[in-house]
């Protein structure tokens, strides 16, 4: 068999999806799985005779059977696993969020500084067709100077206290802010540049240990201001629903999972003045294999290309760390009762 040999650490819901792509895309195959659950280990051995099964990532490294590794374990173990892989010169795709907090990610950042390998953090929302289009427009500065950014993320996930690692801050890092809304913060940084200061507030609607709602005011280094508002206890939102609105000196842009709506005072290149709307069917880009959303496929294709060419990626540990620093600042501001907090600039 030919192609890159992929391994997946953590064979849960996302691990399975990544394994499917690792096995189904051209020039790659699933070679190994690292999983601590005996039930899942047994199932993998039974149904994937060509796939090696390990209990610990050290065994995977020792076996030298993977050209890249996808880390899809609970957040609290991302850094220690990824650090070992980087030390062993194995390219790594780490599920989002990168870590429990920015400080915790430092050993991984240091390991990459010593021994750089292609690395990616799985903010796959960047590859959703509508957000991809919005970022293209914004990176062409069609709105002029950005003045104001509004964002929201709502999903009906939790209407009573939840069970499991996601609701334990020791393994998840926090609640809706670090879990689903880290996608929004990643997108804001990607689209509008660095965030330098925040004023945050978190509240518990149903959970005891983590926040179910977050609201924060954001100051961008560009001079723009904005806010995030997010809840995973928002009724009537069947799936996570993200909306971003931006206003600049030349117009406005609205983007969500369904469409991009642009209003421009003056035409920019081929983009006309007035209203332009792109709906999902306008923007659809086919993929070689779709398992549960084309965004995962595009992400994996980019990652595999970076592994082959030993090239860097846009969503990497460095950008994941920036997202983490904003999250940390919002939590810190909320702890201080909503006072303004500078976003840290951890440098190793």
């Amino acid at each position: 068999m030919t192609g890159l040999r992929g391994a997946v650490v953590g064979f849960g819901k996302l691990g399975l999806l990544h394994a499917g792509l690792a096995n189904g895309l051209p020039n790659s195959r699933l070679a190994a799985v690292v999983e601590s659950s005996a039930v899942i280990q047994r199932a993998v051995r039974q149904y994937f005779p060509d796939v090696n099964v390990f209990s610990r990532v050290e065994e995977l490294i020792e076996a030298r059977q993977s050209d890249y590794v996808i880390v899809a374990t609970p957040t609290g173990s991302h850094v220690s696993i990824a650090e070992k892989l980087v030390e062993a010169s194995i390219p790594v795709l780490i599920e989002k969020p990168l870590s429990l907090n920015a400080q915790e990610a430092q050993p991984l950042v240091a390991a990459l500084n010593r021994n750089w390998v292609p690395n990616m953090v799985g903010y796959m929302g960047r590859y959703i067709d509508t957000f991809h289009k919005a970022a293209q427009l914004l990176h062409r500065s069609v709105l002029g100077k950005i003045q104001m950014v509004r964002s929201s993320m709502y999903v009906e996930q939790l209407l009573k206290p939840g069970e499991g690692w996601r609701y334990d801050p020791a393994t998840s890092g926090g609640g809706v802010l670090i879990t689903q809304n880290s996608h929004v913060i990643d997108k804001l940084l990607w689209m509008f540049g660095d965030i330098t200061g925040v004023l945050g507030n978190t509240s518990q609607l149903v959970s005891r240990l983590v926040e179910d709602h977050v609201h924060a005011y954001l100051e961008f280094s560009s001079g723009a201001v904005g806010f995030i508002d997010a809840s995973w206890s928002a009724r009537h939102f069947r799936t996570p629903t993200i909306s971003i609105h931006a206003q600049g000196t030349n117009g406005t842009l609205d983007v969500d999972d369904d469409e991009v709506r642009l209003f421009l005072d003056n035409s920019i290149g081929e983009t006309s003045s007035g209203w332009t709307t792109w709906r999902k069917p306008d923007l659809y880009r086919p993929v070689p294999l779709d398992i549960g959303g084309t965004q995962y496929t595009f992400q994996m294709i980019d990652f595999l290309e970076a592994v082959t060419n030993r090239s860097d990626l846009d969503s990497n540990v460095a950008s994941g760390l920036k997202t983490q620093l904003v999250i940390d600042a919002v939590y810190e501001s909320a702890r201080q009762g909503g006072t303004r907090v500078d976003v840290g600039t951890l440098v190793s």
């Binding site: 819901k13 039974q46 499991g164 996601r166 549960g292």
Partner: protein, 294 residues
């Protein structure tokens, strides 16, 4: 391919459950309206009156009351074929976020009512204890399909998120189990939903398995069609393929006339599943399907 005869027009369920691939907000509004099963039944009756012979029905928690209502309505019960689509993936995705995959499955089985367990004649405790994946799949299938008892069901579809994953992982044994469980336990054909039609045709040929009835996107603009419009059109020309086309209007992006002059050109498209929430909309859409066929 199996000798299943599919009704030409099948009413889609998305509006009933708030799924809207063009607008999440419109989806949520419709979900609120259709939380009253009487409103769902009005639309179903109107669809049958306008020419629909089938109803696609995901195993969404709300489908239970729709099935109950269909059992009571003998006219609809006998004039409408129901096509279960399982599982309602979002239900498991949300819970897997909390519990992890293994616990979602074991808890689902453990939480089944005693009546269901006795009714299915399954030793659930043994299945949970042994944790054999295929045993669990079989038990889950039987539990999910319980709501459709005594309804007119000839084909059950497997959700594309699961089917596409199984194809990518190259697991023919799960498809075999799915097919044989449906055939033996329920006397129905095994349909498969996919977003990768040409891959499905290739895989089933490699596996030496008969092509299943396929539920897949067919539309003029190539929305949710992979890996390309050309490849899918080639696959649609396969002489043994029977397709129930979905997404034909590209989520309301195409007019019925332009949509069906394209879709009806493929002889492998035996059936079209189309969502509609008002009688006027249904008459117009269903009319275009039959008009452009001739």
């Amino acid at each position: 391919m199996t000798g299943v005869v599919l009704p030409r027009i099948v009413l889609g369920h998305n509006a009933f459950f708030g799924v809207d691939h063009l607008s999440s907000q419109r989806g949520a509004e419709r979900a609120a309206y259709f939380s009253d099963v009487a409103n769902v039944m009005t639309v179903i009756a109107s669809a049958v009156d306008s020419g629909a012979g089938g109803l696609m029905l995901s195993t969404h928690p709300r489908a239970v009351s729709i099935c109950e209502a269909l059992r009571v309505d003998t006219f609809l019960g006998s004039n409408l074929e129901v096509f279960p689509l399982l599982p309602y993936a979002q239900k498991y995705v949300t819970r897997a976020n909390e519990l992890g995959l293994v616990r979602v499955v074991t808890q689902t089985l453990a939480a089944a009512s005693t009546r269901d367990k006795v009714g299915l004649g399954l030793d659930f405790a043994r299945t949970i204890y042994r944790r054999d994946p295929l045993d669990m799949v079989r038990a889950l299938m039987r539990l999910e399909l319980r709501m459709f008892r005594k309804l007119n069901v000839s084909t059950v579809f497997l959700h594309d998120a699961i089917a596409d994953l199984l194809m990518a992982l190259n697991l023919p044994e799960v498809f075999s189990l799915y097919e044989s469980t449906l055939r033996r336990r329920f006397g129905t054909a095994a349909g498969i939903a996919t977003k990768n039609l040409s891959l499905l045709v290739r895989r089933f040929q490699e596996w030496g398995m008969e092509l299943p009835v396929v539920l897949t996107h067919v539309n003029k603009v190539g929305f949710q069609v992979n890996p390309s419009q050309e490849e899918c059109e080639k696959a649609l020309a396969h002489p043994e393929l029977a397709v129930m086309a979905m997404g034909t209007l590209a989520s309301g992006y195409l007019t019925p006339e332009e949509a069906y002059s394209y879709v009806n050109a493929f002889s492998s498209v035996k059936s079209i599943v189309v969502g509609a929430s008002s009688t006027a909309h249904m008459r117009a859409t269903f009319g275009s399907i039959t008009a452009s066929k001739t």
